[in-house]
Amino acid sequence: MTQTNSAGAHAATGTPSVWTCLTYRDVRAASAFLVEAFGFVERASYGDSETVRHAELVWPAGNGGVMLGPAGAGNECGQPVGTGSTYVVVDELDALFARATAAGARVVRGIRDEDYGGRGFTVRDPEGALWSFGTYQG
C-alpha cells in the first residue's frame, strides 16, 4: 500500500497536517505534563531507555497536534529549550485554566476578554514554553 500524504487523506482521517514542533530537555516529562495539564492525548512516542526521541500529541476536540523532540547536539532541528508559543482553541476555558494551574502551569496572563473577540489565557509549561488557550477561533 502506498501512503498517501495528500491533504484530502488527512481531512478524511482527522490526522493534523500542520504540527507545531517543540524542543524539551525531558520529552517524557513534558509529554506527561501536556496530557495532565491541558488534556492533550499522546498518540505516539518513540525512544530508547535513555530518552524519548519523538512524541506526537493530538488535541482530542480538534485536529491540531504537537511534536516533541529532545534538546541536544544530536537534534540539528532543535530549538532552544523554553521557546515556542502555541495557541489552542477551546470551549471550556475556565475549567481548563483550573486544570492547567492545578497541574503547575505558570500563569503569564490570566483569563481576560480579548479585544479581538473571545476570552483567553496564557501560561508557561515547566520548561518555559508558552501555551495560550482561548475561545477566539481565528
Binding site: M1, Q3, T13, G14, R28, A29, S31, A32, V35, V41, E42, R43, A44, S45, Y46, G47, D48, S49, E50, V52, A55
Partner: protein, 278 residues
Amino acid sequence: MEEPPEYGQCRPAPVLRRSVSRYTGYRITGPPGLHHGLPSGHLTLIVCLSGTLDVVAMPDRARPPVSSVSMVAGLHDAPAVISHDGRQYGVQLDLTWQGARTLFGVPAGELVGDVVDLAALLGRRAGELADRLAGAAGWRQRFDVLDHVLAGLADDRRAEPPAEVTRAWRRLAATGGRLPVGELARELGWSRRHLGERFRREVGLSPKTAARVIRFERACRRMRSAARPPLAEVAAECGYFDQAHLAREFRALAGTTATGWLAEFPSVQDQGGGPAPG
C-alpha cells in the same frame, strides 16, 4: 554488544479504536529470563520480529505450553509465563474483547485463559502479517502495516455482541473496575444471574473478575508510568483498601511481586495514557 532497549508506541487508526487500544513495539537485549504476562482488561496479540514467543506456563494451567512467532492471549485471571533468551523483539497489540469478534470472528469468551497461535485464527494471513512487519523499516512503518492489515480484517457486519454486555463493560471500565456487580445489574435492569451468564458467554470472565482485572490493569499502568509512584499511592488511587491489599492482589493475579514484575523491564517505561479498555 548490548544495544539500549528501544520502543515505539502508537494509537491505532480511528477506524480500529473499538478493537485495538494500543500498539507497542519493543526491542530489548539483556540476560535470559522469564517474563510474566499479567491479567488485564485486554487480550494480547504478539508478533515476534525475531525468534519465537515461548509460553512455558499458560494462564489456564491445564493447557499445554505454546511456542510460535505470533499468538493471541485471551482474557485471563492468572499470569502467563514466557521464557526468553534475552532478545525480545516484536510488537504487542492490546485488543478489546469486541476486537476478538471484529478481527477474528470469535467472541473473546472462546479464547479465555488460553494462548493460541495466530495462524489458528487467521490461517496463512498470520504468516503474511509477520513477514510484512519484519520487512518494514521502523516502528512507524510497522504501525502503518498493522493499521492497514487489521482494517482489512475488521468486518463490522459480523455478529454484534449483546448491547447490554457492551454497556456493562463500559460501566466497569468507566469506574476503573470499582462498581459493585449488584449495582451494575440494577443499572442494567437484569438479575445478577442473567447478567453473569450473558457476560461470561461473550467475554469469558464473570463481571466480577472483569472488574478485578480492569482495576488491576489500571494499577499496573500507574506503577509503570514515568513518575513511578509509590505502591501505597497507586493502591489508594485505584480503589484498593491499602498497599497490602494491592500486594496480595498482585501475588494472586500475577504470581510475582510488584517489585519483581517492575524489574522484568529495562527502563523503557510505559508512557501511560493508554485509553481504558472499553
